[in-house]
């Protein structure tokens, strides 16, 4: 199986600040979330793998190409949408995307044709002849996405793509990202500090903190099942039921409309049914508790 990205003992410093601290990571193809708090090294990692900045030490590959020697080859097969608002000024949308294609090496004719296609795809077809400075924030994000995929890259890198977007725009970007990664066979590196966004798009996650790898793996595997913890919903009021469980020595905690129950060692969840029958309550929902991605993330960065 070809690896998407491999880093081996990569160190990158900016003066006294160590942005990547002996980072070693292997990321498989597919939709990968790059998580980390601000200043954790996500953007530095992206710039490193694009060959935009030299590293102090270490080596690595992107799609099998050495990022220290084959930067231009890597950038030919990678599409990148930067975090900041950035525009080619004084052009209309279609020119913007076509120009992005020409800079990668597409012919003018191909770039124009392809620009029309990708603008339709990202939902900017109606705005293609509008000057880009007049676009809204959401439109600019979609424009960046269109210009990143105009040359049909093998790997798409989105750096904080939902920053500053309204909920509807955010959902659109997430749907587009998910569609590209899951239905169009494009590998995706999705950098964000918004956990729901990463969870909505990616199946694999890499967590960075202070330039170090804190956790990595498939999201479903990281969200481990807790055998002794259950989430319970009842038909009626949950407070008396929780009170009853506490009386028999169990831990029961109300969270929104869910009762989180921790069963002591050696006891069976069958007791829950017994207690419910005693209290004349009807259990509507019962399942083992899983860690949320937020818990995984918080545990990793602790």
């Amino acid at each position: 199986m070809q690896m998407l990205i491999q880093f081996e003992n990569v160190i990158k410093t900016y003066g006294a600040v160590t942005a990547l601290d002996n980072l070693s990571v292997t990321i498989p193809t597919g939709a990968v979330g790059l998580l980390g708090p601000n200043g954790s090294g996500k953007t530095t990692m992206i710039r490193t793998l694009l060959g935009l900045i030299p590293v102090d030490k270490g080596s690595g590959t992107v799609l099998g190409m050495d990022f220290r020697r084959r930067q231009l080859d890597i950038r030919r097969v990678v599409g990148f949408a930067p975090e900041d608002e950035c525009l080619f000024p004084h052009v209309v949308g279609i020119e913007f995307v076509a120009y992005a294609g020409e800079l990668v090496g597409m012919s003018r004719k191909d770039a124009m044709q392809r620009a029309h296609e990708v603008l339709d795809y990202v939902g900017l077809g109606e705005a293609r002849y509008r000057i880009v400075e007049s676009y809204s924030t959401g439109m600019k994000q979609r424009l960046k996405l269109a210009s990143a995929i105009v040359h049909d890259p093998q790997l798409l890198i989105l750096d904080e793509p939902t920053n500053g977007m309204d909920p509807a725009g955010r959902v659109e970007i997430l749907e587009l990202s998910r569609d590209l990664a899951h239905n169009k066979g494009m590998s995706l590196l999705f950098s964000s500090h918004l956990l729901p966004d990463v969870e909505a798009v990616c199946e694999y996650v890499v967590v960075l903190g202070n330039g170090k790898l804190l956790a990595e793996g498939k999201i479903q595997e990281l969200k481990s099942v807790h055998d002794q913890c259950f989430e319970v919903r009842l038909k009626a009021d949950m407070a008396p039921f929780a009170q009853r469980l506490t009386e028999i020595g169990w831990s029961a905690e109300m969270q929104d409309d869910v009762l989180r129950v921790r069963i002591p060692e050696g006891q069976s969840p069958q007791t829950l049914w017994q207690v419910a029958a005693d209290e004349q309550q009807q259990i509507r929902y019962l399942r083992p508790q899983r860690s949320t991605l937020e818990e995984v993330f918080l545990k990793a960065v602790e």
């Binding site: 935009l52 930067p82 900041d84 950035c86 080619f88 004084h90 120009y99 339709d120 795809y121 049909d152």
Partner: protein
């Protein structure tokens, strides 16, 4: 199930090699420059104005061709050339190289001034707007090096200046050749064609690189325009003031010598000798470019040849009035080279890779 999926389609075309990637930036820059709103309209109008001197050049070269062939069409040209001496009109073929040289000299001198205005119209936006709209990450995250970016931006200025200097020079040369119907023109004047192309490139690369360097200094293109005016007009004014101070001193000296009854020829020859070490034009950016042009075209030699047609003190006066600065041309070449290096250093310092960008 959709009959035709209008969603994302894969693209199977091929990407070009890396060598001409800068050209995409040049092409885009020229397209945007000509198209963009009021500024684009001003630029288009100015381009048309800049081609007017080329019409003059082509017209004179064609008429000279007709004059060489004793055509009735060109008889009216004779009286206009009397200031060069009757011998020139009497034997136009003999003075072909001199006249062609002077035609190119005046054409390129005019275009030098127009080029400065053209650079003012085209250049300030080139990098400053990329900085303002944070476009550098979009460039450098694609398979481009900084040198490609600079070459592409420089290409925009070189392209526009080439359109008003080099292309008209070539067309005028071809027309002059066609109207003379004499293949020996190629032998006599080919060096002029090469010199005008080289001079055009010197102006374009020098002014282009300098403007690019200035364009990195601010995100507001108005300030860049002011900086350019300071370099072009400001340096010219300082040079002019220095020159005028010198001229006044010379005039006072001449008046004193005249009162002493000393011959004018001696004064003129002294002045010509002094002009060889007159450094004041070096202060002016355009005067330096002009001096390099003089050397490339060989204008000084032409004036000296034509001065032999003059007699007595007229010869000295003729040379003093018509010859440009006489200091060694390599002084100007050094100044222009220094500016090129300075511009390259500023570009290198101001436009870093994404390492230094926010």
């Amino acid at each position: 199930m959709p009959i035709f999926d209008q969603g994302y389609q894969h693209w199977s075309g091929s990407l070009s090699g890396h060598a001409w990637r800068w050209f995409a930036i040049t092409r885009h820059g020229m397209r945007v420059g000509v198209r963009a709103g009021k500024a684009g309209r001003s630029l288009r109008i100015f381009l048309l104005i800049s081609w007017l001197p080329a019409l003059g050049l082509a017209g004179v070269l064609c008429l000279w061709g007709l004059l060489e062939r004793n055509s009735e069409w060109a008889k009216f040209l004779g009286p206009m050339l009397e200031f060069l001496g009757p011998a020139v009109v009497a034997d136009p073929t003999h003075y072909r190289v001199d006249v062609w040289t002077l035609c190119y000299h005046y054409f390129l001198r005019t275009e030098l001034t127009l080029s400065m205005i053209l650079v003012l119209l085209v250049g300030p936006n080139l990098i400053s707007q990329d900085l303002r709209y944070n476009a550098l990450p979009l460039y450098f995250s694609r398979p481009l090096r900084r040198i490609d970016y600079f070459a592409g931006k420089l290409g925009v200025i070189v392209g526009f200046l080439g359109m008003v200097i080099i292309v008209p020079s070539l067309i005028a040369y071809a027309l002059g050749l066609l109207f003379s119907l004499d293949i020996t023109i190629l032998r006599d004047t080919l060096h002029l064609l090469i010199a005008s192309v080289m001079y055009g490139l010197v102006i374009a690369v020098s002014a282009g690189l300098l403007m690019l360097a200035l364009s990195t200094m601010s995100r507001n293109s108005r300030y860049i325009s002011l900086l350019w005016l300071a370099v072009w007009v400001g340096s010219g004014m300082v040079s002019h003031v220095l020159e005028q101070t010198n001229v006044q001193q010379q005039q006072m000296r001449q008046a004193w010598r005249a009162s002493q009854g000393m011959p004018a020829e001696e004064f003129f020859s002294e002045q010509l000798e002094a002009a060889k070490s007159n450094w004041r034009p070096l202060v002016s950016y355009t005067a330096n470019l002009s001096r390099i042009g003089q050397e490339l075209l060989g204008t000084d030699a032409v004036w000296l040849r034509l001065s032999e047609l003059q007699t007595g003190p007229q010869r000295g006066l003729f040379l003093l009035q018509l010859m440009g600065p006489q200091y060694p041309w390599y002084w100007s070449a050094a100044v222009v080279t220094g500016l090129l290096v300075f511009s390259a250093c500023i570009l290198n310092f101001r436009i870093k890779s994404l390492d230094r960008l926010k």
